[in-house]
C-alpha cells in the first residue's frame, strides 16, 4: 500500500478501535475542513474589494459587480449546508481540542495501576470521555442553531 492510502485509511476509518479513535478521526477531519474553509473564506471575501486587482486600480464599480456575483453564487443551499456542517466542526474541534490539551498534560486520566484482567485502561477514563461527549453535544447544538439560521426550521 502506498503511503497515501495508508494515511487515508488510518485517518478516515476509525472503526473497531473505540471512542478515542473516533475522536482522533473527527479532530483531524474537522481541522482540515476548517483550514479549507478559512482559505476559501479569505478568497471569497477578497472579492468584495475586487480580488487581487484592488492593488492596481480603484475598483469600486468593478468590486460591486464582483461582490454581487459572489453573493448570487453563494446563495445556494449547498453552501448553507456546508456552513451548518462547519458549525459542527468548529465547535467540536475547539472543545475536543481543550480536552486533548488537558489529556496531553495527564489531566483527566487515572493513575497507573496493576493490570488486572479484564483490563480497564486508565487512559480511557470517564472524565476524558465525558468531555468528548460534551464536545459532541455542543457541536450538535451548534448544528441545530445554524440549521435554524439558514433554513428557519425551528423558528427559534
Amino acid at each position: 500500500m502506498s503511503r497515501l492510502s495508508i494515511a487515508l485509511k488510518t485517518w478516515l476509518i476509525p472503526v473497531r478501535y473505540g471512542l478515542e479513535r473516533w475522536s482522533y478521526t473527527l479532530q483531524r477531519v474537522s481541522g482540515v475542513a476548517i483550514i479549507l474553509f478559512f482559505v476559501m473564506h479569505i478568497a471569497e471575501t477578497g472579492n468584495v474589494v475586487g480580488g487581487p486587482t484592488v492593488w492596481t486600480i480603484p475598483p469600486y464599480e468593478y468590486a460591486r459587480q464582483v461582490w454581487n456575483e459572489t453573493k448570487e453564487f453563494l446563495a445556494n443551499p449547498i453552501f448553507d449546508i456546508g456552513l451548518v456542517l462547519l458549525a459542527f466542526m468548529i465547535f467540536f474541534h475547539t472543545f475536543n481540542g481543550i480536552r486533548l490539551t488537558l489529556v496531553h498534560f495527564g489531566v483527566l486520566l487515572e493513575k497507573p495501576k496493576r493490570p488486572e484482567y479484564p483490563y480497564h485502561p486508565g487512559s480511557m477514563s470517564k472524565a476524558q470521555r465525558a468531555l468528548f461527549w460534551l464536545s459532541i453535544v455542543l457541536a450538535t447544538a451548534a448544528i441545530i442553531y445554524s440549521l435554524d439560521v439558514f433554513f428557519k426550521v425551528l423558528q427559534i
Binding site: Y17, L100, G106, P112, S123
Partner: protein, 237 residues
C-alpha cells in the same frame, strides 16, 4: 464437530512475491485458539505456511497478527470469541512483511533500544558493575509496574495510526518503556531521558487515538504512559 474457514494472507518473496489470500477449512473444538487453527493448517493441510510463535500462553509476544482486522495474539484469541464463520488472518500492520504472517521487528526493537530500557545510575562504576540491590517502597513500585508488564508483542505498534505514517515517531511500546524507566525511583536518568524525546515527532506526535491501549493484551495502557511522559517533557524541558 464444527468447522471454521481461515482466510490467510500469503506472501513469499522467494516465489512470485504476490500478495494473496488462501482459504482453509479447519475443524474446531471447544477452547480452540486461532494459533491452534493455524498450526492445524501447517501440520495437516499446508506446511508452506509461515507463522511465528513460541510460548502459546501470551507471554513471549511472538504470535501477534491481524485477526479479523484487529491486532491480537493468536494464542490468546479464542475462535469462539470472534463469532464469525470466516476468520481473516493477516500480518501485523506497520511492520514490513518477511513471509506470510511473519513480520520484521527490527525497527520496533531499534526504537525500544533507543529509549534506553534499563536503569541509569549516575555513578558509572555502579552502572557497569553494580552488585548492590536498590530498595523500593510499594508505593514507588506502583508508579511504573503497569508499564513493566509489556511483552513487546507489537500489537500497540500495529494499531497506532501515527506510527502508520510517521517513522520518526517512536511508537507506543517504546514510549511506554521510556516512561516506565523514567518513573522508576531507582533510575537516575531524569531530565536527560526527557530531552531527546522533546525533539521532532518522536513523542509529541501522539494524538491520543488510544488504539494502543485498546489492543494491548497485557493491560499495559501505553496511551496513559505517553501522556504522563509528555507532561514531564512539556513541564521539565
Amino acid at each position: 464437530m464444527q468447522e471454521v474457514r481461515f482466510r490467510v494472507f500469503r506472501y513469499d518473496p522467494d516465489k512470485d512475491g504476490r500478495r494473496s489470500y488462501q482459504t482453509y477449512t479447519v475443524p474446531t473444538f471447544k477452547g480452540m485458539t486461532v494459533l491452534q487453527g493455524l498450526l492445524h493448517i501447517k501440520e495437516k493441510i499446508d506446511p508452506t505456511l509461515s507463522i511465528r510463535f513460541s510460548c502459546r500462553m501470551a507471554t513471549c509476544g511472538s504470535c501477534g497478527m491481524m485477526i479479523n482486522g484487529l491486532p491480537r495474539l493468536a494464542c490468546y484469541t479464542l475462535i469462539e470469541e470472534l463469532k464469525t464463520r470466516t476468520i481473516t488472518v493477516e500480518p501485523l500492520r506497520n511492520f514490513p512483511i518477511i513471509k506470510d504472517l511473519v513480520t520484521d521487528f527490527e525497527e520496533f526493537f531499534t526504537k525500544h533500544r533507543w529509549v534506553k530500557p534499563y536503569l541509569i545510575r549516575l555513578d558509572t562504576y555502579e552502572q557497569e558493575k553494580s552488585n548492590v540491590s536498590y530498595r523500593q517502597s510499594d508505593e514507588e513500585l506502583e508508579h511504573y509496574i503497569q508499564f513493566a508488564y509489556c511483552i513487546k508483542c507489537g500489537l500497540c505498534y500495529a494499531a497506532c495510526p501515527v506510527t502508520a505514517t510517521d517513522k520518526e515517531f517512536l511508537g507506543p511500546q517504546a514510549l511506554a518503556q521510556a516512561y516506565r524507566y523514567y518513573a522508576d525511583s531507582r533510575d537516575e536518568g531524569g531530565v536527560d531521558r526527557l530531552r531527546p524525546l522533546a525533539e521532532g515527532s518522536r513523542l509529541l506526535r501522539c494524538h491520543f487515538a488510544g488504539s494502543c491501549s485498546k489492543v494491548c493484551p497485557k493491560g499495559v495502557d501505553p496511551a496513559l504512559a505517553i501522556q504522563l511522559l509528555r507532561r514531564e517533557v512539556l513541564l521539565r524541558t
